[in-house]
Subunit: 245 residues, 2 copies
DNA sequence: TCACATTTGTCCGTATGTATC
DNA sequence: AGATACATACGGACAAATGTG
């Protein structure tokens, strides 16, 4: 009898995904369940292909997905092979940078989002920062000053300052949001010619902000942060405009 | 003469990356430069492999990277092949979901980040929303009510409401941030048994919020939004606790 | 409806590069 | 330095999907 395709019984497809996608998902599930943990070593490509009963190429494509998604790293050499690793946050910030490079995000949009994100985060920093966080932030400023004195542009230290702030909020969502925003900012400043650099002046702003945080002066910290981010944003915009001229 | 490795001339490595990574980057650059645009059709795998002078396996691994990063889509069949496509935002929200499933982000952290992000976004919504945005939001509420009456859980409409809000802020960073957060929320509610569902009550909250936005009543809108997100967050937490018991 | 061409998906065999012991 | 075990890469082959005449 011919199947009645008009009936309400709908057959679900036996196989939705490509083989390499299924393998990738299978390994991801083992990680989600906690059966596979960071630093666990996976069998070699050949052995994995044998166990999943697939060809080498198929298995390699599955590894590519897992690698790019931040679930595994691959080491070459005799004791090498795939290792469970957690670099998802890295993956996310790379994608944000891609989006910026594709001009899907403008500098104005970035500055506004940065402003609101860091402002929203700041009260949690003031409430939740441990002594160790404060120490890290102080140490960051010392380092930045040292670099500035040695005529090394301290923009990497200055970017790290905001990462440390996010960490002190004790909220991983803020960590990844700030990480993503700063990945774009870092990419921008790393391409910058030294004469455009203003990162020395930034250190003082960071120091003032940190002192307000230590005093738990929420209003002062908020206005310092807002002023600082908007200034950097304007500088950002100005440089882009000049380059485009 | 033996090369003086102690000299200051440092040879940069000829090849940093694996071949498939270089190919992926090369195609990405063409996209960044605007030479390749969405809907442009790329040559077939075999032709691309020929042009890059690599094997097909290597080229396929490059395509996997581009596909997962949201730069291309691949269609099978006679007129198929790789097509330039822009689904980067999709890629990012998938990674956030991965991070949540790996328990790198807790429900409390998600709720707090959601609260601060949407609050920070709200003033831009009030300032920048066009009539068309308001119409979309109104239409969303009509749809949600229709679904609720037909006994179809309107949680997808309710999630869409927040996406529409982000769109009305006219800031792509907010769009992707809210998209990422709501991807996690959507995943959560889609697994939920119907008896736990509260999405009918949510519609009223959305309606009140929308009215405050239309009236440009910033304070009222802000407090309605805060109240709504915190309630959903508590519900979220409660269900997770019950499941874990 | 059917046969055909094109393209992706998959497998296999082989060779080379590379890190470790 | 040599052996070993692994990833990287190439080329050929066939299966499966898909649009076209």
């Amino acid at each position: 009898m011919i199947p009645d395709t008009s009936s309400k019984i709908i057959f679900t497809p036996i196989k939705n995904k490509r083989t390499f996608e299924e393998i990738s998902l299978e390994i991801k599930r083992l990680i989600f369940k906690g059966i596979l943990k960071p630093n666990d070593k996976l069998p070699s490509e050949i052995e994995l292909a044998r166990q999943f009963n697939v060809g080498r190429q198929t298995l390699r494509e599955a590894l590519r997905l897992l690698e790019l998604s931040g679930f595994i790293a691959i080491q070459k050499g005799s004791t090498g092979g795939p290792i469970i690793e957690d670099t998802i946050f890295n993956t996310i910030s790379n994608s944000f940078l891609d989006a910026f490079l594709m001009k899907k995000i403008t500098t104005e949009e970035l500055t506004i989002a940065r402003l609101e994100t860091e402002k929203g985060m700041l009260k949690y920093v003031i409430d939740n920062a441990k002594d160790s966080d404060i120490r890290s932030l102080k140490e960051n400023i010392v380092q930045a000053k040292k670099h500035a004195k040695a005529n090394i542009r301290p923009f990497r230290d200055n970017i790290e300052f905001h990462r440390l702030l996010a960490k002190a909020s004790k909220n991983q969502m803020f960590v990844i949001m700030v990480e993503s925003i700063m990945a774009i900012v870092a990419d921008f400043f790393s391409r910058l010619e030294p004469e455009f650099d203003v990162s020395k002046r930034v250190i003082e702003k960071h120091e003032a902000l940190l002192n307000a945080i230590i005093r738990r002066d929420r209003d002062k910290a908020m206005s310092l942060l807002e002023d600082h981010i908007l200034k950097v944003g304007k500088r950002f915009q100005k440089i882009i405009d000049e380059v485009r001229k």
